[in-house]
C-alpha cells in the first residue's frame, strides 16, 4: 500500500502542479486521477460508509485544490498538503453535522465491496468488511492516523504535518487505534495468521 502511494506521487511532478496553477484542465485531470480513490476512501471511512457524502466532500476538496493550488509553495510534499485539505474538509463537514448517516443507518459497505471483483474471495472480503466496520467505529482522532498510515502510506512526520500535531501525538493515537482494532477484532486473529 505504501508502495502504491509513493509510485502514484511520482506522476505528479512540478510541471503538473505548475500547469494546474495555470488552469490547465488536463493537468488537473491527471492530478485528480492520481488521488481520487485515496481522497474518496478517506472520506468514505470518515463518513461511516456514506458514499454520497464522501463523493460530495471529495469533489469539494478537488475544487478547493484547483482554486488554491497557487498557494502551494512546495514547503511540504504535495500529498501532505493535499491530505491536510482532505482532513480539514472531513472535519468541517462533520462539524456541520447531519449530512451523513449515523453508523446504524449507514449504507452497507458490502455494496462498495461488490464493485471490487478482485476481492471476491469470500473469507478475505468478510475480513476486510469487519476491519472497515471497526475503523468506522473509531473516534475521528484515532481513525484519521490509521487512514493516513495504511491508505496513504504517510510517515509519522508527514502525518504530524497533516494533522497539525506532534509526532508523539501521532504515535500515541496510532497506538490507541491499533489497540482498539485488536480489541474489537481479536476474535479474527486466527483468520489472519498473526505470528504463525
Amino acid at each position: 500500500m505504501e508502495q502504491r502511494a509513493v509510485m502514484s506521487e511520482t506522476k505528479i511532478d512540478e510541471r503538473v502542479i505548475d500547469a494546474c496553477r495555470q488552469g490547465d484542465r488536463e493537468a488537473f485531470r491527471l492530478l485528480f486521477e492520481t488521488y481520487k480513490d485515496r481522497v474518496f476512501s478517506i472520506a468514505v471511512y470518515s463518513f461511516n460508509g456514506d458514499e454520497s457524502a464522501a463523493s460530495d466532500v471529495a469533489q469539494q476538496v478537488f475544487l478547493k485544490l484547483m482554486t488554491s493550488i497557487g498557494q502551494f509553495r512546495g514547503e511540504s510534499a504535495f500529498a501532505t498538503w493535499l491530505y491536510r485539505m482532505v482532513v480539514n474538509a472531513c472535519l468541517d463537514e462533520r462539524r456541520k453535522g447531519k449530512r451523513f448517516l449515523s453508523y446504524g443507518e449507514l449504507t452497507p459497505m458490502s455494496r462498495i465491496e461488490d464493485r471490487r471483483p478482485q476481492e471476491k474471495q469470500f473469507a478475505r472480503a468478510e475480513l476486510a468488511e469487519s476491519v472497515k466496520t471497526a475503523i468506522a467505529q473509531l473516534s475521528p482522532k484515532l481513525r484519521m492516523p490509521i487512514l493516513l498510515k495504511y491508505m496513504e502510506g504517510l510517515s509519522y512526520q508527514d502525518m504530524a504535518t497533516v494533522l497539525e500535531c506532534s509526532q508523539g501525538t501521532v504515535a500515541s493515537r496510532l497506538n490507541r487505534g491499533h489497540k482498539e482494532l485488536a480489541k474489537r477484532l481479536g476474535h479474527l486473529k486466527g483468520q489472519i495468521g498473526v505470528g504463525e
Binding site: 474518496f40 512546495g74 464493485r115 504515535a171 497506538n175 485488536a182 498473526v194
Partner: protein, 392 residues
C-alpha cells in the same frame, strides 16, 4: 530491570519508523519485559488488521460531476496565478522543483530503508548466487528469490534489523516474507545458522518437514535431499511445528524432523547414542507392541534428570501402557508437583501437563528470566501436543 517501558514506541516500531538502533533497543526490551510484549502482541494484531483496509474506488461519475462544478464556478484557478509575474513563477517553480526532488529522494530513501522487500546478502566465500546471478561482495535477496551456495560457497544474510543468518555450502534458501510482524525464509536443503535478537515468533524458517519459529535464540537448522531435518539450538529456544505437532527445543538440545510426520521428540545432545537412536525409532518407525516396549525400555533406563525434556514430550506421543511407563519414569526423576495426578497426566490434562512442565524447566537449562518468559508464551503447546496424540 525495566527502567523504561517501550509501549509508547510500539506502533512506531511496527510501522518501521524507528532507526536500527532504536528498533534493536525495543526488540531487546521486549525479550525481557512481559508487560510490553503483551502490548506488542496487541499492537501487532492491530497493525495486521489495519493493513487489510482496502482503498475504495471513487465513483466513475465523479470527474464529470466535478467538471460541471468547475464550469459553474466563476473563479478560475488561473486567475490566482495571473497577477504573478513570469519571473516570480519561474523562481517558485525552481524552488518547488528542488524541494520536490529532495522530498522525492528522501521518500524513496526512507521507503527503501524501512520497508525494503529484500535482505542484504554478503558473500563469505566462493560464488553464492541469487537467481541466476553470482554475488560479488554483496547482493540483494528479494521476495521470492532463491539464494544458493555450491560446495565452495558461503553467504551471510542480514535479516532486516533483527538478526543474521549464515548460509553454509550446498544450501538453497528462499525469502518468503519480510515485514515488521513476520520474517520468513524457506530452507529447501542444506544448512543455515541463525542468530536472532527479535522478540519471539517474528522469524520463521519453513522446511519440508517443519516450521522453525524463533523464540529469541541462536541455532543451526539443516535439511537433507529428502526433506528430513535436524535442529540444534545453541542459545534460547526454538519451537518446531508441522500440522499441529510441536516440539520446544532449548539450548543444548536438538530435534529431528521428517516429512509428513513433522518434528520428532527433542533431546539433549549429551544423551547417549543408544538413547538418541531409540528415540529416533520411537518417533519415526511407527513401532508397536513388543518392539515399542523394547525400544522404550532403552530410553527410560538411560534417561537422566534433564532428559525429562524428552520424557515430558513423549507423554503425548505414546499411548496406553507405554504412556504409563513414561509417566512412572518421569515421576521418579522429577516427582509430580502438587495439583498433578497420575490419572490427569495419563488423560493428557493440559493444565497438569503445563504445571509439571513449569516445574521441570529448571533441569532443562536453568530458570533464566528469558526462558521463563519464552516458555510462558508457549501456552498453546500442550494442546497441540495432545492433538497429535489424538491423530496417531
Amino acid at each position: 530491570m525495566f527502567a523504561r517501558h517501550v509501549s509508547k514506541e510500539l506502533s512506531a516500531y511496527c510501522n518501521g519508523e524507528l532507526s536500527a538502533d532504536q528498533s534493536r533497543h525495543i526488540a531487546e526490551h521486549l525479550l525481557v519485559c512481559q508487560q510490553c510484549r503483551a502490548e506488542f502482541e496487541e499492537i501487532k494484531l492491530g497493525v495486521h488488521l489495519a493493513g487489510l483496509l482496502p482503498t475504495l474506488s471513487a465513483p466513475v461519475s465523479m470527474w464529470s460531476e466535478l467538471e460541471a462544478r468547475i464550469d459553474a464556478t466563476s473563479a478560475a484557478p488561473a486567475a490566482a496565478a495571473r497577477p504573478v509575474s513570469f519571473w516570480w513563477n519561474a523562481r517558485v517553480a525552481a524552488v518547488a522543483a528542488s524541494l520536490l526532488i529532495a522530498v522525492g529522494i528522501a521518500v524513496i530513501w526512507i521507503y527503501s530503508r524501512e520497508s525494503r522487500p529484500f535482505w542484504v546478502v554478503a558473500k563469505l566465500a566462493g560464488a553464492p548466487t541469487i537467481g541466476n546471478s553470482a554475488i560479488h561482495d554483496e547482493g540483494r535477496l528479494a521476495l521470492g528469490e532463491w539464494l544458493e551456495t555450491d560446495a565452495a560457497s558461503r553467504a551471510k544474510i542480514e535479516v532486516a534489523s533483527i538478526g543474521q543468518v549464515e548460509i553454509d555450502p550446498n544450501t538453497r534458501v528462499r525469502l518468503l516474507a519480510t515485514k515488521v510482524t513476520e520474517h520468513r525464509l524457506e530452507l529447501a536443503r542444506g544448512r543455515l545458522s541463525a542468530y536472532i535478537w527479535a522478540p519471539p515468533r517474528l522469524f520463521f524458517v519453513d522446511t519440508p518437514s517443519a516450521v522453525a519459529a524463533d523464540l529469541g535464540c541462536a541455532y543451526t537448522l539443516e535439511v537433507d535431499d529428502v526433506g528430513a531435518g535436524l535442529l540444534r539450538v545453541t542459545s534460547g529456544w526454538v519451537a518446531l511445528q508441522l500440522h499441529g505437532r510441536e516440539s520446544m527445543v532449548p539450548a543444548g538440545a536438538a530435534c529431528a524432523t521428517r516429512p509428513v510426520v513433522g518434528p520428532g521428540t527433542p533431546y539433549f545432545e549429551d544423551a547417549s547414542a543408544s538413547f538418541r537412536e531409540a528415540l529416533t525409532r520411537v518417533d519415526f518407525d511407527s513401532l508397536q507392541g513388543k518392539e515399542l516396549d523394547a525400544v522404550l525400555e532403552i530410553i527410560l533406563l538411560q534417561a537422566r534428570q534433564r532428559d525429562t525434556l524428552t520424557l515430558w514430550h513423549l507423554l503425548a506421543r505414546v499411548e496406553g501402557t507405554a504412556r504409563e511407563r513414561v509417566y512412572d519414569r518421569l515421576n521418579v526423576l522429577a516427582p509430580q508437583p502438587q495439583g498433578v495426578t497420575r490419572e490427569g497426566i495419563l488423560q493428557l490434562n493440559e493444565q497438569m501437563l503445563q504445571l509439571w512442565k513449569d516445574n521441570l524447566e529448571k533441569s532443562w537449562g536453568g530458570p533464566g528470566v528469558l526462558k521463563k518468559t519464552w516458555l510462558k508464551m508457549w501456552t498453546g503447546a500442550v494442546g497441540k501436543v495432545k492433538g497429535i496424540q489424538e491423530k496417531r
